[in-house]
Amino acid sequence: MAVSAVHLESDAFLVCMNHALSTEKEEVMGLCIGEVETTRIVHIHSVIILRRSDKRKDRVEISPEQLSAASTEAERLADMTGRPMRVVGWYHSHPHITVWPSHVDVRTQAMYQMLDQCFVGLIFSCFIEDKNTKTGRVLYTGFQSVQAQKGSEYERVEIPVHVVPREAIGKVCLESAVELPRILCQEEQDTYRKIHSLAHLDAVTKIHNGSVFTKNLCSQMSAVSGPLLQWLEDRLEQNQQSIVELRQEKERLQRELAAI
């Protein structure tokens, strides 16, 4: 295989988890931005949340437009960090489902590998619960595809995944996290616009549809925007406290250094 391992920065891991846990009724997906090192290790620095145009079950595919937009984002990241960044992989979630990629996933991965043999796939499995022991489970795995023989079906190849500690959350990851509510709202607006343009609906139906839009947006705000905002506020408070403590430690160390 072309890739020896995946190193996923912990703040990118955080965004993937946030995204995967945002809904248990459908699969979510996104793209991974980073670089491939000479040791064939794929280093993922951040992720981009994507809209799923085809929401049918198990149809997790990325459109060319999305790939192109992601590449632009990668360039922006490259400019910001001064390192060569590009789209290096994709991730998606398997709520209530085994973490292993399905045949469709493996085929999709194989297709991406044709364009870039170092492209990797990550899958997050969540909302798994063992009712007997009341144990919940979240799993994640890395994989690529390989064709055993020419013309035969593609098979999964396991790729080691390691989460690289990163004490501070990067700017790009924070921005990605905050994109989720925006994407959800956009999807809702697009759907509503299509419905609204239907001319033959009577007033009651229009009121009904408007209410559905309102209901869905409320749902998004209470399930996603609200908790996200709360987490951000808590994080800010934690950081502020850490900063105070770190400043004290810094002064103490400076005094100690001066004394030696």
């Binding site: 846990l21 079950k57 489902i97 799993l139």
Partner: protein
């Protein structure tokens, strides 16, 4: 009893845990409410059921282990207060993250839990245990979580923890056609009174209103996000300064220690003149050298200001000390089967000893025997036969990974029916004798 935690809080705990190379712990802040559900049955008019709901709002991570208790598990109230400050009144539980471990409260955790309930005055304190396990080749990792609610010295009572989420974002509730109706009265009444809902452009007023709410919320999100980002950068910078200072101090101390040693050796040479009088340290008495291994020698790697970078650790592989990340060391062979159970009953007890005895299982498997999703939750699991060679590898793995001390990873072999049900007998039987009383496999607690 039910419990919930937001996906963001949950991910945050995972994030903090991923950042720590040893166990990680912290407090759970939130609320416990009584919810009444009214149900009507044929036998009674209405029965009100009262359910206690534990809502976890937030978590307060501890910077290091043993920050509020000592090695004997005795709580230090002063430290506890300085950690919690005014959040103390919101504490409804605490959590612990461990790697390659059993899904049970360790003895020390039980002791701490008991003291916490008394000290904080929360009789129904909960304990959330996260355990992390990986396959041998580190391609697949599982984070398992159990919420314990110890009651009257019974430390194995568990509550289901749900993560509320968007659920069904289905947009199928929109109606694409109206119910046909030729009644003129109907059309007239609806038009007349329904006009209230629409503005002059024919757009429903509610749409605009709710969009305003969403938009304002999103703006606030962006603003707070910006503040968080700034605080992250400030924190990063000060941390860097602190690390540099620590380095400088260590360097300075080393230098002074060496100078002192040289000085003393020079003095020794003066008082005991020898023909080969030279100031080369290598000729000095070995005793003096030993005596001057000063206590202020550079700190242990675990607390050094420049811990080895992660890529260095990975490159070193098996030569790592046990306190570093377990997923990098091939010597620690977590049980592959634990990453979800197979879809068929297993012939024998699953699981193997914890990392301590891992060296007896040097065989690494190329792919993981994982069939099904471990708990028969969704019938989709049958449709989603994973591509791969799990079927073949499953058989060989079972035999190789069994151990004499197979502790019961009951929670992982769900459908196999080998689970002893939630036992209320305090400390579970079969705790591997190799472990100390508190059952913590990872010696890295002593950092």
């Amino acid at each position: 009893m039910a419990a919930s935690i937001s996906g963001y809080t949950f991910s945050s705990v995972c994030y903090h845990s991923a950042n720590s190379n040893s166990d990680h712990e912290g407090f759970l802040l939130g609320d416990v409410r009584q919810e009444e559900t009214v149900s009507i049955s044929d036998t009674q008019i209405s029965t009100a059921e009262s359910v206690q709901v534990v809502e976890i709002h937030n978590h307060d991570p501890c910077a290091k282990l043993f920050s509020f208790y000592d090695y004997a598990g005795k709580l230090n109230e002063e430290n506890l207060n300085s950690i919690l400050k005014d959040r103390r009144k919101n504490v409804i539980g605490w959590y612990r993250f461990r790697r390659n471990t059993q899904q049970q409260m360790s003895f020390r955790e039980q002791i701490i839990h008991k003291q916490l309930t008394e000290l904080l005055g929360v009789p129904d304190l909960v304990f959330l245990l996260f355990s992390f396990i990986s396959t041998a080749n580190s391609s697949t990792h599982a984070l398992e979580y159990v919420l314990f609610r110890p009651h009257h010295s019974r430390y194995n009572q568990r509550i289901t923890l749900t993560i509320p989420n968007l659920g069904n974002t289905s947009q199928q509730e929109y109606k694409v056609s109206s119910v046909p109706n030729t009644s003129i009265n109907y059309t007239q009444v609806i038009k007349e009174h329904g006009a209230e809902f629409f503005d002059k452009d024919g757009v429903m007023k509610d749409i605009r209103t709710i969009y305003q709410v969403y938009s304002a919320l999103q703006d606030k999100l962006q603003a707070v996000c910006g503040e968080v980002e700034q605080s992250e950068r400030v924190k990063e910078n000060i941390q860097e300064d602190v690390n540099k200072l620590k380095q400088q101090i260590a360097l300075r101390k080393r230098k002074t220690a060496e100078e002192e040693r040289r000085l003393l050796e020079a003095q020794n040479a003066d008082s005991h003149p020898t023909p080969e009088e030279n100031t080369e340290p290598s000729d000095a008495s070995p005793l003096s050298r030993i005596a001057f291994q000063t206590p202020s020698a550079p700190e242990r790697p675990s607390t050094s200001p420049n811990p080895p970078s992660y890529s260095d650790l990975l490159a070193q592989g098996d030569s790592l000390p046990s306190s570093s990340s377990p997923t990098t060391s091939a010597a620690l062979l977590p049980r592959p089967q634990a990453v979800g159970s197979p879809g068929h009953p297993m012939p024998g007890p699953l699981g193997m000893g914890l990392g301590l005895t891992a060296s007896s299982n040097p065989v690494t498997t190329p792919s993981t025997p994982y069939l099904g999703n471990g708990d028969g939750s969704s019938s989709d699991s049958l449709d989603r036969q994973a591509a791969g060679q799990e079927d073949d590898d499953d058989e060989e793995d079972e035999d190789e990974d069994e151990d004499e001390d197979s502790s019961e990873y009951e929670n992982l072999v769900s459908e196999a029916g080998h689970l002893p049900m939630v036992s209320t007998s305090g400390l579970a039987q079969g705790r591997p004798a190799a472990l100390g009383p508190d059952g913590d496999a990872r010696g890295s607690q002593a950092t």
